[in-house]
């Protein structure tokens, strides 16, 4: 089953896929572009994994890490499908990152790799934008790079685990203005989903509603105002986002 949270005609709905659009809570089917897509969950703690694909680590001139590089993101940094993400004026390099996002379903503490999938509620797609101009060498990647308002699109759907028999063999790709710029497979993760859950839950309690962004493969590119950016994960979803410039974020007065 796939679930989404949408707003339609001034009301919130739990939506499901339907022929010709999305089915609202009350059974009506409306067009996909007639609703406002909210993030499919309101995450509790957001864990993100850096350098988790060997090819991407190489692209950034890093040795593959020996233990997962995990950073946290503010829960307010997320936005939904079809959202706009701001590119601040004067920035030289802002890139997308297509990622499989894991939604935790129950309290996990000291979980063994072999049990890890029992703690997963489902999956969605994340685009973990980064503004590299702001990279500093303190708790890197620092918040100003990665934890920005509206710079982590999430969705469109939360897909139940039962519908994702092998999350470690899904194709990922990003299209910028219709052209494929990033391609990979979750099978190339350095630390797979069970390894990440086991690693985190060994030293802290992971809980229902927590989100793990599992990293991105190679193929990063700068995006500019006006670019249409689609990040998609096979069987999970196709997440659309538009980059907008500072002119749309001008504060009047």
């Amino acid at each position: 089953m796939k679930h989404a949270r949408v707003a339609y005609a001034g009301a919130l709905h739990d939506a499901t896929p339907a022929d010709g659009g999305v089915r609202l809570t009350d059974g009506r089917v409306v067009a996909e572009d007639a609703v406002v897509w909210l993030p499919p969950i309101q995450p509790r703690t957001i864990f993100a994994v850096g350098l988790n694909y060997a090819d991407h680590a190489k692209e950034l001139s890093f040795q593959a890490p020996k233990e997962p590089l995990i950073f946290l993101k503010g829960p307010r940094s997320i936005c939904g499908h079809r959202a706009q993400t701001r590119r601040p004026a004067g920035v030289e390099y802002m890139h997308y990152e297509c990622e499989l996002a894991v939604v935790i379903g129950r309290t996990a503490r000291n979980v063994a790799r072999s049990d890890a999938y029992r703690y997963v509620a489902g999956y969605t797609v994340a685009n973990d934008y980064a503004i590299r101009d702001y990279l500093e060498n303190y708790y890197r990647p620092n918040f100003r790079v990665k934890s920005r308002d509206g710079a982590t699109p999430l969705g469109p759907w939360l897909v139940d685990t039962a519908d994702v028999p092998d999350p470690m063999n899904l194709r990922l790709r990003t299209l910028v203005n219709g052209r494929v710029t990033q391609e990979g497979s979750t099978c190339d993760m350095i630390f797979d989903i069970p390894a990440l859950i086991a690693y985190l839950s060994e030293f802290l309690t992971v809980d229902a509603g927590d989100l793990i962004l599992t990293g991105t493969p190679e193929g990063l590119a700068d995006v500019k105002a006006g670019d249409d950016v689609i990040t998609e994960v096979e069987g999970i979803g196709r997440l659309q986002n538009t980059i907008v410039g500072d002119d749309l974020f001008h504060i009047a007065g």
Binding site: F71, N137, F143, D207
Partner: protein
Amino acid sequence: MHSEPYRQPPVAPVLYLKPRNTWIGNGDGIPLPPGVEQVKVSGTLGVVMGRTACRVAASDALAYVAGYTIVNDVSIPHDSYYRPALRERCRDGFCAISSALASPEAVPNPNQVEIRISINGRACGAASTATLVRPVERLIADVTEFLMLGAGDVLLVGELPDAPLARAGDRVRVEIAGLASLENPVVRP
């Protein structure tokens, strides 16, 4: 700060997040992780936001503050600030937060606040928020420039420069004049 891997002093605030698993209340035990003998305990001022603050000017920043509280920001001592220190900073119970909220009237100037920390009744650290790199108003402005804060969010203004270490059995007390105190024992689960 000019040597590797940092190369230069930080430009933006050096932020980290204390996730929900770290939150405990006044009197709750701070659990020592297995294999860890002592933890760094750092009293700090918690700025409690009263409403959504997004791209706020420093001159308006205090209007978004509901009040102030006392926080004990616990960590495992670590030397490197290069990578996010989840294993050192985000253990369960590593952020004690007083439930007492002091009104803005009770703290007329958050940049002139004395923070004192004691272990088992012995004073072992103190600092004034007058020595912060960024005054509270500037910190709120610099953070909300890119990351909005919401009602109930707590912004910790910074660690004590010489935060002490505490061991199992120690009682750690943080006091700020004008605010209630915060006391937590360090426990071996």
